[in-house]
Structures are given as structure tokens and as C-alpha cells.
Amino acid sequence: MEYIVEPTGGEVPDAPCGLNACGLNGCLINVICGAKACGLYGCLIDACPVLIAP
């Protein structure tokens, strides 16, 4: 089993901007958060320091 896109850790992450990543359908997280992007697919989830615990 080899991940080609790493899982987010099983949690639904939140971003410093307060919005969440929704890919390419109108969400702002990718562009306004200012955190470092994970680099592979444009989202900041992997780098996001703000995770909401379940």
C-alpha cells in the first residue's frame, strides 16, 4: 500500500483563514491562508497548524 496523496490524518482540518479546502469550487483556503502549501495538490491541509480535534 503506497500513498500517492497523503491522507490528512483522518481529521477534517480547518485553516487559519477560517475556511476549508474544497478543491477548486470556490473555497479560499488555498490562496488566502498564507501558510505553506503541501506542494503536491494545492491545498494547505498538510501544513495547516489549526486542526479541529474530533
Binding site: 480547518d14 483563514c17 490562496v31
Partner: protein, 451 residues
Amino acid sequence: MKASSYNVILPLDAEQAYLAFNCASCGLAVLNADTAPIFQALLEGNLLDVKTPANLVEEMRRGAFLIDDEIDEVARLEAIHWASRFQTNTLSLTIAPTLACNLRCLYCYEQDVRRGGRMSAETEQQIVDFCQANDRTLRHLSVVWYGGEPLLAKGIILHLARRFREMMDRREGTYTSSMVSNGYLLDRATALELREHGVEFVQVTLDGPPAVHDSRRPRVGGRGSFETILHNLTEIVDLLRVVIRVNVDQTNQEMVPGLLDILEAEGLKHKLGIYFAQLEAYEASHKAVAKRCFSDQSFSRVETQLYQLALERGWQIGKYPQPMATYCGATRLNAFVIDPWGNLYKCWNTIGDERRRVGHVSQVVTLNAEHVRWLVTSPFKYETCRRCPILPICMGGCPYNTLVENVENVPRCERWRYNLRDILMLRYEMSRKQRQGQTAVNPVQPASLSR
């Protein structure tokens, strides 16, 4: 342990291998022929019947393919959903310093509200006061500069940006910003100013090669805008992160290759991102373009084809599902759209629409009827959504569609419902190409703003 309800398993052509995806974690893994049957057995709970490779169970748990028995995935998602919507450490503002625009896009949904005038100094101050009055827990202020064309009011942007930055510095918080611009005024000097004032990202729309783009997005006087915008892009891509949005409908889908030709010829392929957006006919004057729009299902196919094309030409594909707590900021307590007169709205699509106004920056935010409508709509009210296998990556879809477009006020499914599997396969192909060195890693990943 038990299997997640959000697993998606796809067969690959080669050697009985599979792709495994989980909508809650959005991890995507390749299972080879040896691992795939064991993976499946573990999902089915046959833990004792198979010889499990080292770390496989751990890896499956990491990707949320396997979860603890006591976890109620829907309840957990719902808890995260509501907690996220009412957090107050972040204030997200979309600010239109003017609704005036130097283009006359044929599909503009602001046609009924577009007018001259710019934000007054009084309203500027009210916005700053509005931010300062925000909850003491505020740690981050994010702003999207919007319009109209925001660069028609550049001075207001730069002035407000300085105030925002000072305010957040005093709070030892952070301030970030981005912009939706048509790109016509976005020359290098302007980009430098924007960067110095905290703008990190800009979205610019190109709808095809010059003739196509100019027929859809002409200047006020009817002349074209493409050449100037393209020139500007070549001048600024080293200063700002840029993503090109292509609004696609039945009349320009065939023109995308021509646009890619031009961008590639300008050496922009690895310097900016691109994504394809479904042209939609919103209410009022925007309905005039309805007949040229794709249905969700049709566009899902077109979208996949366009990303396939881009991938084949060596572009990076940014399209990939993400887990989300809410679809967007419109349903969050601490997110507002502000028009040039200080009126507050929840959704970009409703700017200037008096019926959708939820308040004013000069006043305390109240829970009036319109505001409450946005704050309580939720996919968890609908059994169809609660049982949906892609709920974590859809979250009921666009709330504007639910609350405004759909007369029955029920959610409209995201396109993932139709093309998730295809997009996952494209992601796999992109990963394979990267490993083979056929695709450069693009420093600018496509992200999107609305519009």
C-alpha cells in the same frame, strides 16, 4: 475496527492493482496485486483469515479506511461542521471597494448592481472599526479584494491593507489577502504595490484565445482585453501567485486547447495555475446565459476531459477533493462580504442585492432573518446528505444554490458525485508521470476564488 463508509476502491488496468481513496482523509493509495485482496479482507473484517503485511493495518487507519468500531462518522463530521462554523479566531472578509468594472462580460452576474462610485473614507474607517470590534479571540484576518474590478479602486485597497496589517500586528495576529481581478490593470508596478501590501495571490479569468475571450469579456467600449491581460500576466508571475480561471460553457469548451497553446508559448505553463469553472446562470440578468451553460452532469464530463487534456500537455492538475467542515465561508459566523457602501452579505453572488443584505459595518451584527438563514442551513438536516458516501468532500455543496437558486431550498450535489472516480484516476496518472519525469512540478498550484 470497521471499514469507513467513505472508502472508494477503483480497479487499475495493470496487474490487478487498485486505487484506494477515502473521502474523510482524502488519502489516495495504490494497492498492488498482493496487497489488494488483503486490504479488502481487512475492510470486510476478516482480520484472522489473512496474513497481514507489516504496517498495513496502521496505514489503513492512517488513511481512515479502517476506523474504530465506536466511531459514528456522520456524527463526528457534524460536530466538526458546527464547531468550525462558529469559531471566532478568524475573520474572513471579501471587500469590494467598487462595483464599477472596466469590462462588460456577457455573463456578469453583477449587471443589475454594477454602478460607479467607490468606497468612501467613512466606510473605510467603519470597516476598520468593525474589525477591531471583532471578538478578542481574533487571530487571523483574511481579505479577498473583490469588485467590480478592485483595481479601479487601488488606492482604497492599499490604504485599507496598511490599516489591517497594523491592526493585526498590534494583536500579534496574521493578515493575508488575495484578489479577484480581470487582470487588465494588473501591470508589474501594480503587482509590486499589491505584494508590498500583503496580496499574495490573484485570480484572473481568460476564457479562450483572443477572439473568444474578447467576445465574452470585452472592455466597456467593446474592444478586446486579452492581449493586455496576457502581457500583464507575463510581467507579474514572478511577483504574485496567479491562477487562471476559465469559465467554460458549450460555446467555448473547444477553444481551451488554443488558450493552452498561447499560455505555453508565453512560457507560463509552469509559472501559473489553471482551472476550469462551470459557467452558471444565476438569478436576474444572468439568466440570459442559461442556454449556453452545461448541466452539472455534463460539465463533470467536460471538466474531466479538460483536465485530461491539460495533464497530457504537461500541466499540473490542481483538481482534487478535500475534506471540508463547511462548503465555504457564507455559512460561517465570522465571514462577510462587504460592498462599497459598507453593506454586509454572506455570499459573493449576492453582493448589491438588498434582499440578501445581512447588516452594515457601522452596526452591531444581528441575527436578522436573512443572516439566520445562512447560519443554520446545513447538509446534516437532509437524510440524503447524511447518508451520502461523499459527504466529507461535498458538505451539501454551494449554500447559495441551496438558499437562493433552489426554490425548494435543498442542497445541490457537488460535481464530485459525477466525476470523483475520473479525477482520482487523473491524479494517479499525474503521479505516475511525475515519477517518470514527464511533468514538471508546478510551483503555482491551482486554487480558486469564485467568479
